[in-house]
Amino acid sequence: MRSIIKDGQVVTDSWTVLRPDEAGQLPEVASERDVVVPFAIWKAEPAMWQNRAGQVAVWLAPDDEPAELATHLASFPLVAVDFPAFTDGRGYSIGRLLRERYRYQGELRALGDVWQDLVHYLWQVGFNSFEIKEGKNLEDALKGFGTFSERYHSTWREPEPLFRRRNSRHENVA
């Protein structure tokens, strides 16, 4: 078990993220373990994953198409998105699409090159749990949520952008 950040707290976590080896094979895990499977592998044989004792979730690579997951979303307690390098920002769009367009309500987790300076943005676009990169401190990462107390945009967390809130404020004063 490892620690992750979930909804702003450090918690221990029972999911095992399965990553294929060089030959494309997933490691063997006991059937009762809860696993997060690469979406590409899951979608090749969805039925096979149904028969496990443990729970099944999927993780998306940056070039996976979230639309393909749309009709299955309700059945997943957890969906994860991988950030192989923090400079690869595709996962932010995937997060917004899953939340805003496909109305995913469950846990949305960021995996990979994830640390303090990124959690704020990830939280805005809809991620609520974070597997912090090996070697980076979780307590430091927690500080990242408080970096900004306001933002300009329409986000999943706060759909009303600042310019609308500003003008409602003006109206109230007037």
Binding site: F86, G89, Y92, E100, V125, F163, N167
Partner: protein
């Protein structure tokens, strides 16, 4: 001018504290070089040939006098007493110490300035027409939209890590003075058949190593949809732009790969889901931002007052300066003054702390405390009474700002080149100077008329050489500095990419090649034709022959 409210201040201050902490963690070894680099770039900090280079945002080229004084103070306290205006309306400092950058940012925050997203693979400073709000041919004032876009792009959580940098330009006038056709996204105002005002959306323009003129993906976008439409464009780019090769990562490559129609279809599809969402602008929102850009308190005056007309008649040097370095204004009796930063012997775009302070003083004494930065790397006093022009001219002369060459051959747009930039193939500043010296005869220079001359030290094209009527590009030949000349480029409504005339020149031969080109133009031009018009009419061939002929 836009003024920060408490929230804008808070965001910028929190950004300063974030960057201070990132710098501390880097210096303490908690962030690796590879982790810190993208973070510092997103705050305008490059590591250059001699020292770090800090780029400060001047949103859409607008400065207040107190901001320019602050830049002067920074130049003096943290740098070597000068700064450099860039072609993207920003200011660069070439010598700050890394450890002191957070303090510079804190000083900037006091005057509502920052360095957010002046570099890195994110949405950069939005640029516009330097004459916005005062130009006579304006359909709408682009500045409220620029500010709305500035706020939208600042720390946008979905688009902080794009495949590559992303530049947006907005033009609100009939004549495009913002180079909208060579930006990742250009928004150029149009009026539709019903008389409604909106934007033509242009995507995929850009210079750099693969220069391209942008493609129109939507002929008319109602103004209140700009943010949702930008979100749609950026999302398509963020998801599908190439990330495997940084030279193929700009949006222009994606637009080309998908075809403009294919790209447009993807954007429209994405937009269906975003359109009319909470990021749609209401009239009250636009009115809020527009209220910052109301006209200042102009006096009612007659055009061409007596004293001014008399000075024009008696002082030829003054008349010449007025002709070239001032622009007509929508308000009778006023003009905009362009202070030339292209004095021979001074690197184009460079400005000293004293000069900054002088400009700040004049902007208050003769205007409303506002200054503009032009992408041609000059500084503008937007609102000067014609009756004050003579005095402004004398003051400008005393500070070396009055070279009457705006829009002429020696008003060279020039990148820092090999003297400062580690990517350069060749130096640009000394060659630009050699050209200025060659054409130092004012009568001849004025006779040659309007010519855009643009100079880049390498194919990254920071000096926009592709869209110069005459362009120069530094190239490397076996470790030596050589220079390629292009002809026929232009910006504005007839944007075109210039063509190389032939083999490159050694440094010492560039001015001579220029002289031959200009001689041929003078011989060939027909009744008042501008240089670019002659080049378009007769083509490159005669120029090639002249320049490379053995006997001339």
């Amino acid at each position: 001018m836009y003024r920060y409210d408490e929230v804008d201040y808070r965001i910028v201050r929190e950004r300063v504290e974030q960057f201070r902490d990132q710098t501390r963690r880097f210096l303490a070894g908690e962030l690796s070089e590879d982790e810190f680099r993208p973070l510092r770039l997103m705050n305008g900090l490059y590591i250059q040939r001699h020292a770090p280079m800090l780029r400060i945002a001047i949103p859409y080229g607008h400065l207040a006098s107190r901001q320019l004084r602050k830049l002067a103070h920074i130049a003096r306290t943290y740098d070597k007493g000068y700064g450099h205006f860039t072609t993207r309306q920003n200011m660069q400092f070439n010598w700050p110490a890394l450890e002191r950058v957070p303090d510079i940012l804190a000083e900037l925050a006091e005057v509502e300035m920052h360095a957010i997203q002046t570099s890195g693979n994110c949405v950069r400073n939005t640029t516009t027409d330097a004459f916005a709000g005062v130009a006579a041919d304006e359909l709408i004032d682009p500045r409220p939209y620029c500010e709305i876009i500035r706020q939208w792009s600042t720390l946008h959580p979905e688009f902080a890590f794009l495949p590559r940098k992303f530049k947006i330009a907005v033009s609100g006038s009939v004549e495009d003075r913002a180079a909208t056709l060579v930006h990742d996204v250009g928004l150029h105002v149009v009026r539709n058949a019903d008389g409604e005002v909106g934007f033509k959306v242009i995507v995929g323009g850009g210079l750099g190593r693969t220069p391209m003129v942008g493609e129109v993906i939507r002929e008319f976008l109602p103004t209140h949809h700009i943010l949702t439409y930008l979100d749609a464009i950026l999302r398509v780019y963020n998801r599908y732009g190439r990330r495997d090769n940084k030279y193929k990562a700009r949006i222009k490559i994606l637009v080309k790969a998908l075809t403009p129609q294919g790209f447009a279809a993807k954007v429209e599809d994405e937009w269906l889901h975003l359109k009319d969402g909470p990021a749609t602008l209401r009239d009250v929102d636009v009115a809020h931002y527009a209220s910052f850009f109301n006209d200042p308190a102009y006096e009612t005056r007659a055009a061409n007052p007596e004293g001014f007309a008399a000075k024009l008649a008696e002082d030829r040097a003054f008349a010449r300066w007025v002709e070239h370095n001032t622009r007509t204004h929508k308000q009778p009796g006023y003009r905009s003054v362009v202070l030339s930063l292209k004095k021979t012997g001074v690197p184009p775009g460079d400005i000293t702390a004293e000069q900054m302070e002088a400009v700040a003083d004049w902007s208050e004494r003769f205007g409303f405390g506002e200054i503009r930065v032009a992408h041609e790397q000059n500084v503008i006093l937007p609102d000067v009474k014609e009756s004050d022009l003579y005095e402004v001219w004398q003051l400008a002369r005393s500070q070396g700002f009055a070279t009457p060459n705006v829009g002429l051959l020696t008003d060279i747009i020039c990148c820092p080149g090999g003297d400062f930039c580690s990517l350069a193939n060749a130096r640009s500043i000394p060659v630009a100077e050699a050209i200025q010296r060659k054409f130092d005869d004012l009568d001849y220079l004025h006779d040659l008329g309007e010519i855009d001359c643009n100079f880049s030290g390498c194919m990254n094209a920071c000096g926009h050489h592709h869209i110069g009527n005459i362009g120069i590009l530094g190239v490397d030949k076996n470790g030596e500095e050589w220079y390629q000349i292009t002809l026929g480029g232009s910006q504005g409504n007839h944007t075109a990419i210039g063509k190389v005339i032939g083999p490159s020149f050694a440094q010492a031969d560039v001015p001579l090649a220029f002289e031959k080109i200009m001689n041929l133009y003078v011989e060939q031009r027909q009744d008042g034709e501008r240089f670019i018009e002659t080049v378009r009419r007769i083509g490159l061939e005669p120029f090639k022959e002249r320049v490379y002929a053995k006997h001339h």
